[in-house]
């Protein structure tokens, strides 16, 4: 038998420049999804300080919320969540067979909309933070 040459998966990543809208959407959706599960676990962990009493909970939350990093991370989380939601809606429509021709445009729209929402909510998210 002739041997054959397998180029492996490495090359996939070196081709990122050639990815199309649908592929980017897939990658972003995956990434945001994973971040969201990660956050869900952390979130519950933080919230469960409530089990050790009201004071412990309020202190932890307020301590965290007063940190700028946490606020910035929250903005990031918002971005991730908003994109996941918008693209998730896009995917739901695709699943229903609606607007397949516009799938690339709807992806770009989700990206832009995410940006807009995130920028618009920065003041709210950063309000009252002590530096």
């Amino acid at each position: 038998m002739s041997q054959s040459y397998n180029r492996g998966l490495i090359e996939d990543f070196s081709r990122w420049r050639e990815f199309s809208a649908g592929m980017w959407a897939w990658i972003f959706h995956k990434f945001t999804g994973w971040v969201l599960v990660g956050y869900l676990f952390t979130h519950i962990a933080v919230l469960s300080t409530a089990l050790s009493g009201a004071a412990a909970y309020t202190n932890t939350i307020q301590a965290l919320e007063s940190l700028l990093v946490v606020r910035i991370l929250e903005v990031g989380l918002l971005a991730v969540a908003v994109f996941h939601i918008l693209n998730g809606l896009r995917l739901l429509f695709v699943d229903l067979g609606v607007g397949l021709e516009a799938q690339d445009r709807s992806f770009y729209a989700s990206l832009i909309l995410t940006g807009v929402i995130v920028v618009a909510s920065v003041p709210t998210f950063l309000s009252g933070v002590s530096i």
Binding site: K30, G33, W34, L36, V37, L40, F41, I44, A45, L47, S48, A50, L51, A54, A55, Y57, T58, I61, Q62, E65, S66, R71, E74, L78, A81, I85, G88, L89, L91, L92, D95, S121, T124, F125, S127, G128, V129
Partner: protein
């Protein structure tokens, strides 16, 4: 000639639930964000406020449902992603078990927290 695949483990049910939970999450998550970040600002969160909300049965059950759907949606999503990458055999079974366990723990912990707030099931 190719063998025909016979492992008819329909992935359809999970696929459907992933969509259904997603549709549900859109609504609840939007509500959640709105309530906790825009109506009530983050730096104002206190145990008392959460407690006040949790003591209403509707809110309590909504949050439990939120937790369960989000967990299912998230964990199932992760599992799917792994299967898409060709996960199979014993490793697949192991991953399934671990993910299942993690979800149960997460839900149990979440429910305990909610109960702590509400001080028992708010009936």
């Amino acid at each position: 000639m190719a063998e025909r695949y016979t492992s008819f483990e329909p992935g359809g049910r999970r696929w459907l639930w992933q969509r259904l939970t997603a549709a549900f999450l859109v609504v609840v998550l939007a509500f959640h964000f709105f309530l906790l970040h825009f109506l009530n600002h983050a730096d104002e969160v206190t145990f008392a406020l959460s407690q006040a909300r949790m003591e209403q049965l509707t809110y309590f059950s909504l949050m439990i449902l939120f937790l369960v759907t989000a967990t299912f949606h998230g964990v199932n999503g992760v599992y799917n992603a792994l299967v898409n990458q060709g996960l199979s055999g014993t490793r697949k079974t192991a991953v399934k078990a671990i993910l299942g366990l993690a979800s149960v723990l997460l839900i149990v912990q979440g429910v305990r927290t909610a109960l702590a707030w509400a001080g028992g099931v708010p009936i």
